[in-house]
Symmetry: C2
């Protein structure tokens, strides 16, 4: 990873994780609920969505911390989705990033409620923020709910579950990924751009950038499930294939999937150049997504 | 029920249910997800929360339909909470209002996702509304998230689940009910009052009104679980006692619970008089809550 991006991620990961910790500590809520929320929020991960918020602000020469509450809300929603996805009735995963999943530690009921609480609290954190105008808050909330709800992430997860029992077409697979992971990644960039005062033209190019890195992210995920190292990923590899799950490599061959990955990375770079911003970090994030080992 | 309230409920129930139907129809989302969301939204119920929004607006001589989007969002959040509460890992209920519960019809994964989708969509509906100013939307969302999240409904449900395994004190029981059902009922009234332009003084009295009807509602629920008719309630009676669940009658005796019910109803009436509004419908709603058979 380039030194500038590495230092940036190191700095803002710490800022974000401190904020998340404080947001849970201040809650007047049952102890076990707070522990379950905190457990998954602090379970690490790449924090790619918050980094996209911060890096987009930086590309406009804005102070990245302006995006802190938006980024924290985003990470809470991403985290709730992982908790619910891991449940026995969904993907039934025991491990996440090398640690026992939420329901393995706190039980199923508490895990469902911790997810519900994180999702709800995310909107509260944005709505009450004094750092954004009411208009900005309303826009952040509308976009976030659309990206995370039935027309976005939840819709993608539903289609993913339905798709597990059949062979998917490439179109169906793209619908799932565009919604399940793509829309929240796109929101991250759009939130940063909106808070930076981007114009319509710039917002559109950022949207394209985010769309392509979203698909690149997912293709890389599928590739890692075959070629990756169990130790680095923190979960079993080969699980997609064992579950007869349709993936980019299974539909396009490994070479075809890698070619698509390169195409999306190139398209993301092209879109980024059109934004006329100083987006060095966002360019480096593309490389990070394309070459990541975990 | 008094004729005025009965006509009011009849009229606005229809308005609300039409709105809920349309809100689901317009979604670009997987068919089964929309069906699962719609199934529980259309499963009936008293729609007490939306009626509180509408009746509070009416008490200020405002057009009740001003509250339509706030009321729809509220009913979506109430409905999501019922879907998740009924899950096997929570209360494990097969019937709700005489119909099979969501997960019995659509399966557990779809039920969890339908709940997540309703919760998320509720915030989207308010955030995008052109009928409220940005300031009003931000206030509605902040209050709703606080009432529904870890410091409100979800916190109450967590405490309820933890409390199932032990005998509760009256204080613990009140914490559960204040949060599990009380806060969302209070929000209903507060949302209507805020949209009516209530001043701080009035908001405070409406908050007290809502607090007391919330507890009255729950005490009546506990009483109905013992004295009620299975046919009218649409679920088994005696389940609290069979589950050794602490209730108002079990902690206070049946006579004691009924005395508390009367006290809360009287306190609600006193608070309502202090609001200096024309609250005939809100007075009648107290009677409805205290005497309801389902």
């Amino acid at each position: 990873m380039a030194a500038a991006l590495s230092a940036f991620i190191h700095e803002y990961k710490e800022v974000l994780e401190k904020e998340l910790k404080e947001l849970i500590e201040e809650l007047q809520a049952p102890k076990v609920l707070k522990e379950a929320m905190d457990y998954s929020l602090q379970a690490g991960g790449k924090r790619i969505r918050p980094m996209l918020v911060f890096a987009t602000l930086a590309s406009f020469q804005k102070e990245p911390k302006i995006g802190l509450e938006a980024a924290a809300a985003l990470e809470m929603i991403h985290t709730y989705s992982l908790i619910h996805d891991d449940l026995p009735s969904m993907d039934d995963d025991d491990l996440r990033r090398g640690q026992p999943t939420n329901h393995k530690v706190f039980g199923e009921a508490a895990a469902i409620l911790a997810g519900d609480a994180l999702l709800t609290y995310a909107f509260q954190v944005i709505a009450r923020s004094n750092n954004y105008s009411s208009d900005q808050r309303v826009t952040l909330i509308e976009w976030l709910a659309k990206a995370a709800g039935p027309e976005g992430m939840v819709g993608g997860q539903m289609a993913d579950i339905e798709g597990e029992t059949k062979e998917l077409t490439l179109e169906e697979l793209e619908y799932i990924h565009k919604n399940k992971t793509g829309r929240l990644l796109a929101y991250s960039v759009m939130a940063g751009a909106m808070l930076s005062g981007a114009d319509k033209h710039q917002l559109e190019h950022f949207r394209k950038y985010a769309f392509h890195i979203g698909l690149a992210f997912q293709i890389r995920d599928d590739i890692l499930d075959i070629e990756g190292s169990e130790e680095k990923i923190g979960k079993r590899v080969g699980s997609d294939s064992a579950n007869h799950k349709s993936t980019y490599p299974s539909l396009l061959t490994m070479a075809g999937a890698k070619a698509q990955l390169t195409e999306h990375a190139d398209a993301a770079r092209a879109a980024l150049r059109q934004t006329n911003t100083d987006s060095a970090l966002l360019f480096e994030l593309i490389d990070l997504i394309v070459t990541r080992e975990q």
